[in-house]
């Protein structure tokens, strides 16, 4: 097979999760104003303080301007053509038996069985369909350990004290344009609270699915790990194939108190648009964790293969002394995808440590950007950072960029940054072929090897999925 053909093969790969589920839905007409926010809040039967909080965010959002600094161009998002709330008609099921079988089938098809007998062993799942949470599995088992894992709308009703204390404490309403928008209109998402000295008995997971046309998905996730606790959380997402761009503007906040650990893993596979760059999800997400207490640890791992445009920087604010922040990322872009992703590590406490490992793979006509910030504040004595960003280019029409900002105001700290960019080397390919491995398999091996450092950070179930995703994506790709 000639090189050109192989690259074409890669480009013409199918998006497997691109089907639409036919369910009757209750969708607000497009447009955004204070009334829409009141309706959303009303539908969720929220207390007055929550509505106020949303309205405050909305008013701040109106004062803000669409950020323009990113290394990308895209048609402007018309915020009045988006519907801010959509839920399947048969809302509010008490148990799984009442959930629309169409929706259950959808999640089944995506590999997320919600039925008792088919449940993923050892993983509790919260499934979010457009704007609402459909089902949460393993609730009883988790309750026994004192772990709260529920849709955030439920948490606002049942645990208002926790929500009031932590919501917006890491990502304030006016943090940025899309975070403000999310604060105003977020409809659902997951809430997790791990009590003191508790190790969450199973992996927690949320699966997001955009189904309805012309909607935006604005979910909000809040995870609080109390002193000495541990939780591992997984997030996955897909959307149907459509010609229109859809907006996904989520906010994720993590709070780790003293000695607590949070491990947050994402496999992002939103619809990336077709080979001509038509359609796909705009994924503008704010993710930030706060290591509030001493010896706490937050670890982000992400595999980004989807979305027309990805724009996210999972960050860690290292406030507690001896706290640790980690960021492991694989971002793969193809066709006309654009990914601008990276992390921020803000070192405030003493002896804080952070590690950043980012692997970018660009193919087709895509653009892949690592953009990161490491900031050492004057009182962060003994801070340590290690950063490594590698890019792999497949094809001569794509771009790979690295923009690391390193700001150091402390002379008792050590920072290292390294980055490389190259293509799959002819020598490596030659070596594999010499040993009887065909070219396609060789490229796949080399790319998998390239990403290995990140994959080994993923929980088992996700590592398998991520490996498969990359393999499908790179079928036939020979640089």
């Amino acid at each position: 097979m000639s090189k050109g053909n192989e690259i074409d093969d890669l480009i013409s790969r199918e998006y497997e999760a691109g089907f639409v589920t036919q369910v009757e839905s209750d969708t607000l007409p497009p447009g955004l104003n204070e009334d829409v926010i009141r309706i959303i809040s009303g539908k969720k039967n929220e207390p007055e303080w929550m509505l106020e909080w949303r309205l405050q965010a909305y008013r701040q959002w109106q004062q803000m301007e669409i950020p323009q600094w990113a290394h990308m161009k895209h048609p402007e998002v018309d915020f009045n053509s988006i519907s801010y709330y959509s839920s399947p008609k048969k809302n509010g099921p008490k148990s799984l038996d009442e959930v629309d079988p169409e929706i259950l089938a959808t999640f089944e098809k995506l590999g997320i069985p919600l039925h008792e007998r088919g449940k993923l062993a050892g993983v509790a799942v919260d499934a979010v369909f457009d704007s609402v949470s459909i089902a949460t599995t393993y609730k009883e088992e988790l309750a026994k350990a004192g772990v709260i894992f529920c849709p955030i709308s439920e948490a606002i009703q049942n645990h208002p004290e926790l929500i009031q204390k932590y919501l917006g404490s890491v990502v304030p309403q006016k943090d940025n344009f899309y975070a403000a928008l999310n604060s105003a209109v977020f409809s659902d998402g997951s809430f997790v609270y791990i009590p003191k000295n508790t190790r969450c008995p199973m992996e927690l997971s949320t699966y997001f699915r955009i189904n309805e046309l012309n909607t935006g998905q604005f979910e909000r996730t809040l995870i609080v790990a109390d002193e000495g606790s541990y939780v591992s959380y997984l997030e996955g997402c897909t959307a149907p194939m459509r010609d229109e761009n859809q907006l996904h503007a989520a906010v994720v906040e993590l709070v780790a108190l003293g000695d607590a650990q949070i491990k947050y893993s994402t496999v992002q596979n939103w619809y990336p648009g077709d080979a001509e760059g038509k359609g796909g999800i705009y994924n503008f997400v704010t993710k930030r964790g706060l290591c509030a207490g001493a010896n706490s640890k937050i670890s982000w791992t992400q595999v980004e293969t989807g979305s027309a445009i990805t724009w996210k920087y999972p960050s860690v604010v290292l406030r507690g002394d001896n706290s640790v922040g980690e960021f492991y990322s694989v971002a793969l872009t193809n066709n006309f995808q654009k990914a601008d992703t990276g992390t921020k590590m803000i070192h405030l406490g003493k002896n804080t440590r952070s590690t950043i490992v980012s692997k970018g793979i660009s193919a087709g006509r895509s653009e892949n950007v690592y953009r990161g910030l490491v900031r050492i504040s004057p009182r962060a004595d003994g801070a340590r950072n290690y950063t490594q960003c590698d890019s792999l280019l497949i094809g001569d029409k794509c771009g790979a960029h690295t923009f690391p900002y390193i700001e150091n105001r402390n002379s008792d700290s050590i920072l290292e940054h390294e980055a490389t960019t190259s293509k799959v080397s002819d020598d490596q390919l030659f070596l594999c072929r010499q040993r009887g491995i065909d070219e396609e398999k060789a490229v796949s091996m080399i790319v998998n090897g390239f990403c290995k450092e990140v994959f080994k950070e993923l929980p088992m179930e996700f590592a398998v999925e991520a490996g498969k995703l990359l393999e499908v994506s790179l079928e036939g790709a020979v640089g």
Binding site: F403, N408, K423
Partner: protein, 439 residues
Amino acid sequence: MISPNDWKQQALNQQHTRLPWLHNAASQSAFAAAELPTRKTERWKYSPITALLQQDYLARSASATADETCARARLADLSNASRIVLVNGVLNRALSDFSDLENQGVITLFSMSNPEQRELVNQHLGTACNHSQHLFAAFNDSMLNEGLLIHAPAMQKLAQPVYLVYLGAPQAEPALAQSRVLLVAEPGAELQLVEHFDSCGSQANLFHNHVTEIVLQPNARLRHIRVQVEDEALVHINGLHIQQARDTHYEQHGIAFGSQLKRNDVNVTFTGENAHCEINGVFLSKHRQHIDNHLNLEHAKPHCTSNTSFKGFVTDESRAVFNGRIHIHKDAQKTEAHLNNKNLLLSKKAELNTKPELEIYADDVKCSHGASIGQLDEKSLFYFQSRGIDKASAEAMLCLGFVNEKVEQIPSPAIQQLVADRLAAFFNDVDKLKSLWGM
């Protein structure tokens, strides 16, 4: 404090001084259209220009008189070089010695140029430097009334180095000094250029805005040494713009001290294949100095290589910035570009911001960048101490070793000597290092 708008208006009012025979006045419109940088301007994010606006530098041009004894003491002992000394941007014949090259037409002042030379200037001035992107270079060009043309003839190797000395002399009142150099190396030419920025006395009232443009035509080779060791009160903005045609070779060795505000832009553009660029530098800042190094490598053509290595030494309450960008254009295949920046941050109150950037649009390339910030190595210190050398001396030696790695690469013993003397003076009032130099 002068408002940015007033500053700009003042600058615009001086545009009439531009030499009438200079053609391309795009810089004037570029300057008129540009805004003075603020903290939100990405390229000036870490370098506020408050120092520039604090005094009315644009009110007058700096006077060109310097104390001759002091000036002579500053010069490096480059006996065989053609020496051109500019005092506050104005040629000082008494201190200079370049009649050979002047007679050969290799070095000419813009004001004394013949029609052919004027044509050459008009052909090349502003081609290596993109005035719409470099506000202060546009400002420099917009009121250009004097400059220096270095024209290296084709297929010739200049035996003697060209030694340019920019000397600052003290001013009673705030004043502006501007200087501009255009170097055109014809095909196959080979030469060595030494740029030495220095001062006699305090520069508290001086703003020096300098631009060097270098155009290397096919097969030309240039070895460039840059020494910036001026008084720390100076406000200095320096632009170096290099254009490399096919098969050219450019090599730079530089050292720069910080000052009240010092900004160094180095911009390399490859316009032909198989060119090579090598940049080695070290910057040092102490007290409350500020130094900003902005490096930009435009790999626009295939088969070019670049290698950039910078070291930073930052102490006291000073602030240093390093921004190194490698931009590989589409189709610039087989490019090999490497950049690294290693820094020593020695004081609690010092600040260092470094940002190595890679922007790559071609796939068959090998690129890397690296940056590190650290302190003196505990193990090395221990090694010294275990051999009876006290801690303070050990620290001083390690610092000097760190900086010297770059100094020793300077391909001129006379300049190495000059730099060694200046380094001794520089380190002498850094607390940690006194013991070694405070003799």
